[in-house]
Amino acid sequence: MTASSGDAAADEALAGGATGFDWRRVHPVTPLVRGWVVVVVVVLGFGRQVLEQGAEERDAAVNHLGWVGLGLLALAVVVVGLSWLSWRFTAFALTDDAVHVRRGVIWRQHRKARLDRVQAIDVEQPFVARLVGLAELKIEVAGGSGSAVTIAYLREADARLLRAEVLARAAGVDATVVAAPRVDGAAAPVGPVPVRSDGPAPSDAPAAVVPGLLRVPALEAPEQEVYEVPSGRLVGSTLLTGEAIALLVVLLGVVGLGVATHSLAAAFTMIWVVVGLGSAVFNRFNRGFAFRAATSPDGIRLEHGLTESRAQTIPPGRVQAVELHQPLLWRRNDWWVVRVNVAGYGNSAESKPSSTVLHPVATRHEAFTAVWLVLPDLGTPDPVGVLSEGLGGTGPSDVYTAAPRRARWLDPVAWRRTAFTVTHRALVARTGRLHRRLVLVPHGRTQSLGLRQGPVGRRLGIATFVVHSTPGPVSPQIPHLDGSVARRLLDEQVVRAREARAHDVPERWMRPETAP
């Protein structure tokens, strides 16, 4: 378990937090991991000052070594004291319907996140935390920017256990309690734990927390791996991006100029361009490294990252829209990048683009699998046919309704690709000729719908259909449809969205349906 709830009563008095919760602590080295930059800067700054001083001053400094040492010691005591205080005032607790986190010594913050609003749960390991085996748990609740609840840092195993516990409760599985001897310190031995299955939780587990007993969560839901991205393909796809090619061109140009002019001037002026492009290329590789996806009763699980690693869990029904995208350079290999909109990821300011990637470089088959992860039932008897035509097809067909020929005046390049089809579960929109895109929006995830028509479109009798989705990389729209087709689609989607919402996955996805 996490650092034990320790001398809870005394802490309550000290921290002044709400009582009645089973408050737990984060790992004691948290302030150090959070503030390692400060430590490094202080050490480096001091060291540099000493080195840069003249000989006399250095002699003087050596004479006063005792004072210097004392000053450093005092500083260290203050820093350690403040860190200890901040650690002491940081705690989290889990109840049946919310996660509570409190922090802050002077400005206290107590954040509560409702479990039925959880959109995604990530276990993240930034570089330094990864070196020391710590991880942070981030619970996204879709409440606007900065609304994620972050619990940092825990030992990695503890973070995963806590994730399982949060997921189990968010899913509506009854928390199970197992009697285990209470042990102070972080390593509490865990007794026999009932393995969580797809069925209802074991009913013989005691319902309430018994004081003095350790509360043990259900084990992590079983997961089954679905795909893994081979490093070779990741490298290849990274090299076939605009950034990588631009980097190559710049590097060749710099070398060429250097050879021609026998000076390094060109290299120096271009260094920031090279650094910028290089980091963009490396980041893409870094984020996609060892990318694995799995399914579990708790939803989609993703794990990836080289220097920073991240394990994401997206519960069922939380994906708002999926996009399969193929840049021009990837067409030869038929590779696709799969991105999703998830309510919590899009609007948290600190979230990185990596969290919205469902597959960094998928073969066609894997792309279908990724869609299947989001929409296990596409709502059509021939899902592969529908998707294949969506990926490669042009023009109208039995399945797809395409933009009319007169749309070429507004979109001469891609008008033939623009088309849509509707299954029982989702709206499927096909767009883009150079950059091919296929967007799927589950009917139940439609926020609002719109139509747009400019002056030219009005003359031509065509209109653009827009689905408003939560913030994220996917913005579903079907441009330049025939006016009456767009209008009918709007009316039909309104009804479909309403019906789909009525029969949706419940917010607590493991709880048996009960009449409201």
């Binding site: 309510a343 747009r452 028509q453 009798g461 989705s469 969205a497």
Partner: protein, 170 residues
């Protein structure tokens, strides 16, 4: 103030049959005239003063352009205001606006996260308010300007009640 069928909007794409559109108050025209007119009038005054003092043809030409813009605005604003319409259906709210680029938004009541009623000093003086609907999507461009204050409050409470009855998760 109900404009049945929205016949003046021409194309039927943005005016489906069987929908009764409510229009916003014509006092919004006054509000828009003031917000657009004050800077334009200032520009005209500056242009005339500069033109008289320097006798420069450029100053007069610039003033003429500003006057043309003002005439265009005077022609456009009433049409824009009259193009705004909203309709409460059983399960959703329709909002349409725009003349040159026309937009229609359908917001299901169950998807509304919160509602804003805003009244600036100018709108307050005219007894107007604007209502904005927010869903979980930033793309939902659903605001109705120029409602009279009591209509706005009533609509807000009405919509909130309907939203509560149909509230769904994300």
């Amino acid at each position: 103030m109900t404009d049945r069928g929205g016949a003046r909007q021409g194309s039927d794409v943005f005016a489906p049959p069987g929908v009764e559109w409510s229009r916003v108050s014509d006092r919004l025209i006054v509000a828009r005239y003031v917000t657009a007119g004050v800077p334009l009038a200032l520009l005209v005054v500056v242009g005339v003063v500069v033109g008289v003092l320097t006798g420069s043809a450029w100053a007069w030409a610039a003033t003429a352009v500003v006057v043309l813009v003002a005439v265009w605005v005077a022609w456009l604003v009433p049409r824009q205001v009259r193009a705004v319409g909203y309709a409460e259906r059983d399960d959703d709210l329709l909002i349409r606006h725009g003349i040159l680029v026309r937009r229609l938004v359908v917001v299901p009541y169950g998807r509304m996260q919160y509602l804003d009623v805003q009244r600036g000093p100018l709108l307050r003086a005219l007894g107007l308010a604007s209502l904005q609907l927010h869903t979980a999507s930033p793309g939902t461009d659903a605001s109705i300007d120029g409602l009279t204050a009591d209509v706005a409050e009533g609509l807000r409470d009405h919509l909130a009640a309907r939203g509560e009855a149909r509230l769904a998760g994300l």
